[in-house]
């Protein structure tokens, strides 16, 4: 099954790097969309179906933690696995993200293999084959 992924980061450069890394994982990608903050991501998620979100934590307007909290309030969005890709690796932020349902965290800098590994850990095998 092909993956539909939303990449959320305020840096256009990092969105490009993450999307390129996704392409290098060997996973089949049906659709990859981008958002520059949590608020834009929520709007896109309301009108599109995704089976994975890769999100930064520190972003203007609505950060990754606030986005996770908003997703938890929505019965459909709370089912979408979210992996945080961030420089923000402090214990408190990691715990906040985990409490709000984040399935994993990849610290920047990263190599594509780390993203593939984390996706494999948090998605059903049926989605990866």
């Amino acid at each position: 099954m092909a993956l539909r992924v939303l990449v959320v980061d305020d840096s256009a450069v990092i969105r490009k790097v993450v999307i390129r890394a996704l392409g290098q994982t060997g996973l089949t990608l049906e659709d990859v969309q981008q958002a520059s903050d949590g608020s834009e991501a929520l709007n896109i998620m309301k009108t599109n179906e995704f089976n994975l979100v890769l999100s930064d934590i520190n972003m203007p307007n609505m950060d990754g933690i606030q986005m996770l909290a908003a997703m938890q309030e929505d019965p459909r969005l709370k089912l979408i696995p979210v992996i945080m890709i961030t420089t923000e690796g402090s214990q408190s932020k990691v715990m906040d993200a985990a409490k709000l349902g984040a399935k994993g965290l990849v610290r920047k800098p990263f190599v594509p293999e780390q993203i593939k590994q984390k996706i494999s850990e948090c998605l059903d095998a049926s989605l990866l084959n």
């Binding site: 840096s11 790097v17 203007p60 402090s90 214990q91």
Partner: protein, 179 residues
Amino acid sequence: MQEIIAIEAIQAATVRVFATMLEKELLCEAPRVEPQKRVAAEGVIAQISVVGSSSITCLVCCSAELACTIAAILLMQECAGVDEEVLDAMAEIANMILGNVKTDLDAHLGEVSLSIPTVTHGQDFMVHSHSKQWMLLPFQMDGLTLVIKVCFEPPYQPRRPRAERKAIASDPPAVGMPS
């Protein structure tokens, strides 16, 4: 926090970011002190700070040529001149370096926040700090030099409201204390 711990953490994080994101080996050169508040600058400078119970400001400085090289490797595309993508790439490099330092030194730094990076591109300008000196951390990449200028500042102390300051100033000295 001892400054030497922070210096080593910044060097280690910089080498790690370049090795992982750019697959480039950075050579660390010996740090040196710039004993003045103002330092001359040119090229591309990405400024980022951690602020709170500790305060560290880093300027990631390099030539326009090196900034374009870094962005080209990161984006896997040609970067002929300093444009928005090059500035964004330098901001992200600075963000990753100090973000990693913040994580690595979580226990030493206490409650701190990471600022949003600001990038400046130009020639012949000065950077001024409230601190008395800058610590310069030079690195070499493919014969080009990248310097991280680090400034350790005392934690921010908000000023008391004027009325409060006046009241404190007019308080009689405590009994038994020297006036």
